[in-house]
Amino acid sequence: MALKRKHRRLSFVALGLLALGAAAALILTAFEDNIVFFHSPTEIQEKFAANELKPAQRLRIGGLVVEGSVTKTGDGATTRFKVTDLTKSIVVEYRGILPDLFREGQGIVAEGHYNNNVFTAREVLAKHDENYMPPEVAAALKKSGQWKPAGKEK
């Protein structure tokens, strides 16, 4: 009985390890394909100039929406605006309805592809809360030396 019990437990453990291995493999491959790196507008331009990033790569960018830069293009459903880390800025295009908290001067994060000096966003994230600054945007501003601790202007 004792032997049988041990044997059975061993087979459970072996099965468990096998499944765990499969799960680990699944997770690792998923990670490899689906992690999106964040870059500030300055980094985007530097890295594309140095060919470190390719147009096919999915990227995240973040910064402040430049005041007065928001325009509609094409059929009117595409919005074009500039995002800046207060050192450099890049042009972003997004087709669709922007999040409610998207505003000029507001910190945003966008995900998409950078090609021919235009960042085509699949997603634009602005936050639920007007005083909230995405950590990435804060980091990008700190990096460019333009960070001012959030004042309560609102």
């Binding site: 019990r5 059975r8 087979s11 459970f12 099965l15 468990g16 499944a19 765990l20 799960a23 699944l26 997770i27 491959t29 998923a30 990670f31 394909d33 689906n34 992690i35 999106v36 790196f37 964040f38 870059h39 995240r60 509609k72 059929d75 009117g76 459903a77 087709r95 669709g96 309805i97 922007l98 999040p99 409610d100 908290l101 994060v109 995900e111 994230l125 936050k127 639920h128 809360d129 007007e130 005083n131 909230y132 995405p134 950590p135 990435e136 980091a139």
Partner: protein, 665 residues
Amino acid sequence: MIVETGHFALILALFVAALQGTLPMIGAHRRDQALMAIAAPAALIQLALVIVAFAALTYAFVTSDFSVLNVVQNSHTDKPMLYKISGVWGNHEGSMLLWALILSLYGGAIAAFGKNLRPSLKVRVLGVQSLIATGILAFILLTSNPFTRVVPAPINGNSLNPLLQDPGLAFHPPLLYLGYVGLSITFSFAVAALIEGRVDAAWARWVRPWTLAAWGFLTAGISLGSWWAYYELGWGGWWFWDPVENASFMPWLAATALLHSAIVSEKRDSLKSWTIFLAIIAFGLSLLGTFLVRSGVITSVHAFASDPTRGVFILLLLVVTIGGAFALFAWRGPSLKGSGLFQPISREGGLLLNNFLLTVAAASVLLGTLYPLFIDVLELGKVSVGAPYFESVFIPMMIPMLMVMAIAPFLKWKRGDFLGATARLKIALIITIVGGLLTWSIIDRASAFAAFGMALAIWLFIAVLTELAERIKLFRVPLIESGRRLLHQPRASWGMTFAHAGLAIMVAGMTASSAWRVESIQVMKFGDSVTVGGYTYTLKDVREVPGPNYIATRGTFIVTQSGASGEDDALTLYPEKRTYKTRKMTTTEAAIHPTFLGDLYAVVGDKDEKSGGYVTRIYFNPLVSWMWTGALIMVLGAGISLSDRRHRVGAPAKSKIVPGSVPAE
């Protein structure tokens, strides 16, 4: 004055909790009846004090007392009453107070209704529960006091974040907290059992209803949140694998696993240390969720302005609570030997597989959620892990789970007959294959995956019905007899039937809405039409309409089913864009017309100055209402199962239950 009373009550509650967490524990250790007797009344006093504090804050909100900072920041006199009340928990301080309230509520419930618990166990459960409360109350008082005054008091407040001024979100936090704070009880039970070094069938039987209650609330809370995101954010999606969503989903996965392993512990005296481990993990994930949401360390769409110092406090609380529990587990866990042996193919085996898959799924969600944080701490750059990761990891794990979920209830305890079980599922299998093929050939030949998802849903649903039919011996005994059996099914079995069927319906909804969603973005002038998903939308006009504390830009769409003539069956959709006066913030109110086969979903956006038209976004979201229906059925299942009196009897009762001895819930 009332505000000060609330503040004072909260301070008193902290002291009561601290006493309750120590003296009775010492008493239980020394078998000192007098010290042990403190526990239950202390728990009730603590509850009463927290209720007073909560009521005081609510009073300040309802009467718009702008001498209280929290009210100033989150309320306004022009807000409708519902949102004045929901404003109490629509902010950090107040939501933590709600957290504490629910924690004390569960403690109080144990004190009041746990009469049939073993006295030493009850005292220890209450002790552990109030140690957690001590931490949370100290956190509130030291870092997040909701009762802070402002001098001079402003004339009016900043109002509540407009996104939160919504009936769905008014009730989302209380439900969610009832769920994930409810897991504190199972945690307390687990730690108390470890202290006692005793886990038996009776213990598992006590734990199950609490887990079930927490699970039901959590399911309701998460679904409500998802529903809110679906109609309020105007993106047409219902789940974004956002860190804040994951924060509530991980405890749900763990709680679901716990729910199932506790059954094995109760019925088969097996998987005991695993059940304890899960109970610790489940609450650990709840605390982690609180930490992620409240500290703002992770970028999330749902992030609200937050304060890092608070994060450190919660992290500390998390480390002490969970670290302590794990240390205890490492010390005492090995002595918790189970006696029930079982073959891999058995009901236990099926439940074990369910547990394995759910825990690994929770772990993979955890990894994806925390990964950006690790990378950031190691200064390797800023990354985000998006929906594609979660989908490619989570879905493959759920496929075997749904498959086995259909079969496991047909297996016997200890040693099951796999072929026998599948033989009884012959009809289900045939329907599944036919259903899958039909989906593939008629609806969508491009997506074999969607057809597979629908087939899985059918498989589970028919298997659940087959299992029910077997239990009532449908067509094997006269119909009257089957009907009688149907009425006499134990409520706990009904619970399983409902929960599993609900999941099947939900899976169908998720699959269909992800695979066959039709989206169309365009600029429309008045009179323009667009056809989406078989319906034609004509923009009639867009005009300004005043609301109680906002101005709405309301679009009017006339929608007709393509091919249908007459204007009679035309319906009208009114999507709005609201601009709230106080915060100058806009929110999107999508107009949704749910039908059995899918939701018609319209959003009106900004005006395009050049053409004079409006940007509109129109979706056809197939079977979305099935998800909410499925969730509702699952919650209903939890409720039905909870009402089973077998859950309320203390020890595993061998004899008949005496009706009078059943305590009220």
